[in-house]
């Protein structure tokens, strides 16, 4: 129930695929091995001042460049609002400060890592970088952080006080967090070799990361990718209730004109739920498991939105090896479905414009 037309006017992404230079759309998908997939990154020094880079963690560099990519596409120099979703925040700096604090028994600490450890570092860094004095917010609610950020952006654009919003999702995987997730048994223990698609029916998932940013605005331009028509987030419901809610949304599928980007992460018990919810679509639309390309992370739906935007604009569809043109240019709608741990279920609907 988005009450004003909202278009994706620019999109930038740094992910485990070569999204930053868009060769991802042309070439074969990059096949990663191991259970921790790092981003394919550009030479950041071409984008960020070299003195500034030294003080920036990887996720901050990713945010900066993904945001620049999105803004460049629509010739935007200063967004009127900046909204970021991040499930885990600036982990590298958090662990850095925490480790030093424990090792040095609360003495001889420097402020740098602490300053950069706060969750709002990304959004405030972008505000400083683009000199954006407007609304600035950071959502940190697990796997719906990016969806919350989109909701805030939608509200702003509906309220009509701004016309262009920079919104993104970003998370990083670090040595310490990977180790912790492994110890918790959440990471897949068997080696996944060259895994697109990820082998399923095992326990655990593959850790991913990335930053994807979008300029959303009320105006449709020739450069616009697609129209954002729904962001539905459902939390705390039992599976039967979720199936009912999903059923209503999936009932809008027009066969042959819709593709679902689904958040299966390869963990058998998680994927069982994802399948069950999507079964309410009665197989009316092909399902592509987008995390086979980017790995699992809280804000991975932002990567899926980047994909959806390009699929609709370029009329392409993902296969197991790479993108192919859609026959008769018949792709009208992409539905993104993302859930983990069965608490929060989100649907993002994007339509051709």
């Amino acid at each position: 129930m988005i009450r004003k037309p909202i278009y994706i006017q620019g999109a930038g992404s740094i992910s485990a695929q070569k999204t930053w230079d868009k060769t991802f759309l042309e070439d074969k998908f990059i096949k990663h091995s191991g259970n921790r997939w790092l981003c394919q990154e550009p030479d950041y020094s071409e984008w960020i001042d070299s003195r500034a880079i030294r003080r920036m963690s990887r996720v901050l560099q990713q945010c900066n460049v993904a945001a620049q990519l999105a803004m460049k596409e629509c010739h935007l120099e200063c967004p009127e609002a900046i909204i970021v979703g991040t499930a885990m925040g600036c982990l590298e700096d958090t662990w850095s400060f925490l480790s030093k604090m424990v090792h040095h028994q609360e003495e001889m600490l420097s402020p740098t890592a602490f300053i950069h450890s706060t969750h709002n570092t990304m959004a405030s860094h972008l505000a400083l970088h683009f000199k954006s004095f407007g609304h600035n917010c950071t959502f940190v609610h697990r796997n719906i952080s990016f969806e919350n950020a989109l909701t805030d952006a939608i509200l702003l654009l509906e309220e009509g006080e701004v016309s262009k919003v920079l919104v993104g999702g970003a998370d990083e995987v670090t040595d310490i967090s990977f180790d912790i997730l492994s110890q918790l048994g959440q990471i897949r223990q068997v080696e996944s070799v060259n895994s697109v698609p990820i082998p399923t029916n095992v326990s655990g998932w593959i850790a991913g990361e990335g930053a994807s940013f979008f300029v959303l605005g009320n105006e449709q331009t020739t450069a616009s990718y697609a129209r954002l028509t729904e962001v539905g987030v459902y939390s705390g419901f039992d599976i039967e209730e979720i199936k009912q809610l999903a059923g209503k949304l999936l009932a809008t599928i027009i066969p042959g004109k819709t593709i679902i980007l689904a958040g299966h992460n390869g963990d058998a018990s998680e994927d069982k739920i994802t399948d069950e919810v999507l079964s309410k679509g009665n197989g009316q639309a092909p399902i592509f498991k987008y995390k086979t390309l980017c790995g699992e992370y809280g804000t991975s739906s932002s990567f899926a939105l980047w994909m959806a935007a390009h699929m609709l604009k370029n009329q392409i569809r993902p296969t197991n090896s790479g993108f192919k043109l859609v026959e008769n240019s018949d792709l009208d709608t992409v539905i993104i479905y993302h859930q983990t741990s069965q608490i929060h279920h989100s649907f993002i609907l994007v339509e051709r414009c």
Binding site: M1, R3, I82, A87, M88, G89, F97, L98, S99, M101, V102, H103, Q105, E106, E107, L109, S110, P111, F114, I115, H116, S117, T118, H119, N120, T121, A123, S124, H125, A127, L128, K131, S132, F133, G134, H135, N136, C137, T138, F139, V140, H141, R142, I144, S145, N148, T151, D152, L155, E158, E159, I180, Q183, L184, V233, Y234, S235, G236, F237, I343
Partner: protein, 399 residues
């Protein structure tokens, strides 16, 4: 004209007390909650006084009826949220679209610290499951489920303005008719991480802090949680609930100056206050009381003071920083001060500074030094400014 959003319930836990009544009592008796550290394990125990909630985790577990060994943020958040909802049984919410929006900067960092400390001594001794409490969304999810809610849940983290933004987001979701009732506010427990972090910035006072004073030395950290129950005016009428006040104005801006400092002229704070007044369709002269962000640091009080001077000179309303009683509760501060603002309107109270000697040289600003009950409080401006330039101002108005 957008729908009027009212506050029907409040909940608060801080160094001043376990609920609203105890909090007001502390102000009536001019009792600061800032004391030597009693509960946090830290080597700075005897160096920095803090505004701790006067209860151990075991006490809090018992008080809330929750299981032991949760993160401190969960106990604080649940306790305050339950008080906020005490006027409205969850069964009365059935059929309504309910949301819970909390705010946090540390989440369950206390449990992560435990894990790091034990695994440093012996890599095999730490319990890695402690880290399951780490993320900011964890306490929110826990409380959301514990309250028996389903629907919309979110956590905001914009440093010290976090819970002000939670209330603002709540109001916008209500005005756009996406939700019917929202419990909004925030929580932060005191942790080693934050105490040491702020200490590296050399802005923590070793004595009771003195916000707005010429000789201020820095801030005292605190902890706590506070929530308000928000709904559209019509919903409150349908539920037969009386409004404590309404949230009439809000604005979120970025100062865009520095990661940890505000611009000297307070550009972000000035715009936040100006836009919040505009949103509420009020003039500066309409404000009965300003609950300042007033951390007690050199930088904040000068920047905020300059912004207030730019907007209010020469007719300043009564103002004060209640952080001199609660300490700076970070993500919870906007919630705590929002609840204090609502209680100010409800009870006709203007809060004082705990102490005040001399004004800042370039500013005329003199905070109240004694609690005032001599005038009706119609509109309260509450400021929350944070690292990263995040500035949010809220306006609470009598209904």
């Amino acid at each position: 004209m957008s729908a009027s959003v009212v506050i029907t319930g409040t909940g608060i836990i801080s160094a001043l007390g376990m609920n609203g009544a105890e909090t007001l009592d502390a102000f009536k008796h001019h009792r600061s909650g800032i004391q030597p550290i009693q509960y946090l394990k830290t080597r700075h125990k005897d160096v920095f006084p803090c505004g701790e909630v006067k209860a151990s985790n075991d006490d809090l577990a018992q008080l809330t009826g929750l299981s032991p060994n949760l993160s401190r943020s969960i106990y604080l958040s649940y306790h305050a949220a339950r008080e906020a909802l005490s006027h409205l049984h969850v069964s009365r919410l059935s059929g309504l679209r309910v949301g819970f929006i909390s705010a946090s900067t540390v989440g369950g960092m206390d449990r992560t610290e435990q894990y790091f400390m034990s695994s440093l001594v012996d890599p095999k001794s730490g319990d890695v499951r402690d880290t399951r409490h780490h993320d900011c969304g964890k306490p929110t999810d826990f409380v959301f489920r514990q309250l028996g809610l389903k629907g919309f849940v979110s956590t905001i983290s914009t440093a010290c303005s976090s819970s002000a933004n939670a209330m603002m987001m709540a109001s916008r979701l209500l005005q756009s008719d996406r939700l019917d009732v929202v419990i909004a506010g925030g929580v932060d427990a005191l942790t080693q991480f934050t105490l040491n972090g702020f200490n590296t910035l050399m802005i923590v006072d070793q004595k009771q802090c003195e916000p707005l004073d010429r000789d201020r030395r820095g801030l005292n950290l605190g902890e706590g949680a506070a929530y308000v129950v928000l709904m559209r005016k019509e919903s409150a009428e349908e539920l037969d609930l009386s409004a404590i006040c309404h949230l009439s104005g809000y604005a979120n801006t970025n100062d865009t100056f520095h990661q940890t400092a505000l611009s000297e002229q307070g550009n972000g704070p000035f715009t936040a206050m100006t836009n919040a007044l505009k949103k509420a369709a009020l003039q500066p002269g309409d404000i009965s009381y300003i609950n300042m962000h007033g951390t007690g640091t050199q930088n904040n009080d000068l920047a905020e003071g300059n912004a207030i001077r730019r907007l209010f000179h020469p007719d300043y309303p009564p103002l004060s920083s209640t952080k001199s009683f609660t300490g700076h509760t970070l993500a919870a501060s906007g919630g705590i001060e929002g609840v204090l603002s609502a209680l100010a309107i409800q009870n006709g109270i203007i809060y004082p500074n705990y102490t005040f000697q001399e004004p800042v040289d370039s500013l005329e600003i003199r905070p109240e030094t004694k609690i005032r009950t001599d005038k009706a409080v119609h509109h309260v401006l509450s400021n929350s400014f944070g690292f990263g330039g995040n500035c949010t101002s809220l306006i609470f108005s009598a209904s």
